[in-house]
């Protein structure tokens, strides 16, 4: 965002919303090192191509990466962790270059990672045994915090990992990834398998984690409520590319459906063709009963426009995130 300090905040916000809705924006990270960055990153596989990927994940915030299955979310995590090497481009994490073949033990101590799939190989290990193994690599391991989280999550660590339910295993892995108080937490669909109660506990624990100082979460997710409750920024990914980075509140607040009544002497068709000039117009259709249904990506401006033009808004509703995603992805394909 630019011009944050300018005089007229209302119009600045509207402009920002416009920029966001139309092209996507990079967050205001001037003067601070991003938690992670991709520049010109390409990954070519026989059946999959990721990139060119240019993305900065802001430090101190929660960024949700959302997009259809197979869009490249998990590959993005693997690139960050140096589990896959890019064919081109530069990657940094917490200010350090990734994938240069140097010892990255120190760097990895500063992050926590929960992969999409839980490891199948350690099913015979008990939870306590795996924790004893993992903590040797983390000088900052906080035993009390780990045990507190297991209690919150109602996980019994004396069970063998393979005997835990999918949900319990997930909660165990979350506690394991957070017990050393990492600066950066990478979560690949963290809540898969969690029941609604456990999900709420997870959201609370992630909020608590963010309260702990200058910390960053990057999470891939399909759960709309998770994005709503946790994210500050939303990065939308499709077919191996980032199609936009948005402030969550701005994105969710600026897409609305309006129902417009025809003024005296005008037909719904007249209103529909006039609505083509509405700010942020996405689509318009006749909705019966003399009304038109209009979707805009700049709701506040559109509302003022309707008032000026003398169109009566008989109903309006904010779009849900999945509908917004659908429209944005369709626009950019």
């Amino acid at each position: 965002m630019t011009n944050r300090s300018e005089g007229n905040r209302v119009s600045t916000a509207v402009q920002n919303a416009k920029v966001t809705a139309d092209r996507g924006t990079q967050p205001d990270v001037v003067g601070s090192v991003p938690a992670a960055s991709f520049s010109g990153v390409l990954l070519n596989r026989s059946r999959f191509r990721l990139g060119p990927l240019d993305l900065e994940l802001p430090a101190g915030y929660v960024t949700a990466i959302v997009g259809p299955n197979g869009c490249g979310k998990s590959s993005t995590f693997r690139l960050l962790l140096d589990q896959a090497r890019p064919d081109a481009g530069e990657i940094t994490m917490l200010g350090e270059a990734v994938g240069k073949g140097t010892d990255d033990t120190e760097l990895k101590r500063r992050i926590g990672y929960v992969p999409e799939e839980d490891d199948k190989l350690d099913g015979r290990l008990r939870g306590t045994a795996k924790a004893d193994f993992v903590r040797q690599w983390y000088p900052g391991w906080d035993r009390n915090e780990f045990e507190r989280m297991l209690r919150q999550f109602e996980v019994d660590p004396s069970l063998r990992l393979g005997k835990m339910s999918k949900g319990m295993r997930r909660k165990y892995e979350l506690a394991l990834a957070m017990a050393h108080g990492p600066e950066l937490l990478l979560l690949d669909e963290p809540s898969s398998g969690l029941d609604p109660l456990a999900w709420r506990t997870m959201v609370d624990e992630l909020h608590r984690y963010m309260d702990g100082g200058s910390r960053t979460i990057v999470m891939a997710t399909h759960i709309i409520d998770e994005v709503k409750r946790l994210a500050d920024y939303i990065a939308i990914m499709d077919s191996g590319r980032i199609i936009g980075m948005y402030e969550k509140d701005e994105l969710l607040g600026s897409w609305h459906t309006f129902y417009l009544s025809s003024p005296e002497g005008a037909s719904p068709g007249d209103v529909a063709s006039a609505a083509a000039a509405m700010p942020g117009i996405v689509r318009v259709e006749e909705a019966g009963g003399g009304t038109c249904r209009v979707v805009t990506s700049r709701a506040w401006e559109a509302e003022q426009w309707c008032r000026q033009q003398g169109y009566l808004i008989s109903g309006q509703k904010a779009l849900e995130l999945d509908d917004i995603l659908d429209d944005l992805i369709r626009q950019k394909r």
Partner: protein, 129 residues
């Protein structure tokens, strides 16, 4: 502390603007007294289920207006508010609301007489003289 701020999710008014104007009137009206410690950015963001970015913007704007002050490491407090400016601000808010009502009436095709009678009816209903 929970601030009595209510978000209308179906309004097109941007979230930061809704929060900012409600917090401003809580301060201007004296409901939040001078030196009251406000919730931290994260806390308020969680209470209102909005993003940290939005709360930062609200606090920054109100600080620039002189309604809030931030002490490094301690938090955000309500600043000393000019009472006359508060009264002026309340009057402006009423004028804006009346103007919005006239706009709404105009787009619904109502004339002067109808609007005047609606206002009279509303005053009568609330037994205001």
């Amino acid at each position: 502390m929970r601030l009595p701020i209510h978000i209308n999710e179906h309004s097109a008014e941007p979230l930061y603007h809704q929060i900012e104007s409600q917090l401003r009137s809580l301060i201007m009206s004296g409901q939040l007294e001078e030196n009251t410690l406000l919730p931290s950015n994260r806390e308020l963001a969680q209470n209102l289920q909005c993003s940290l970015i939005t709360i930062r913007r609200v606090y920054q704007d109100l600080e620039a207006e002189g309604l809030l002050r931030t002490k490094q490491g301690t938090g955000t407090f309500v600043a000393k508010v000019d009472v006359e400016a508060g009264a002026r601000q309340r009057l402006e808010a009423v004028e804006a609301a009346v103007s919005a009502a006239v706009d709404a009436g105009a787009s619904a095709g109502l004339g002067r007489a109808e609007l005047e009678s609606m206002l009279r009816e509303e005053l009568k209903r609330r037994k205001m003289t």
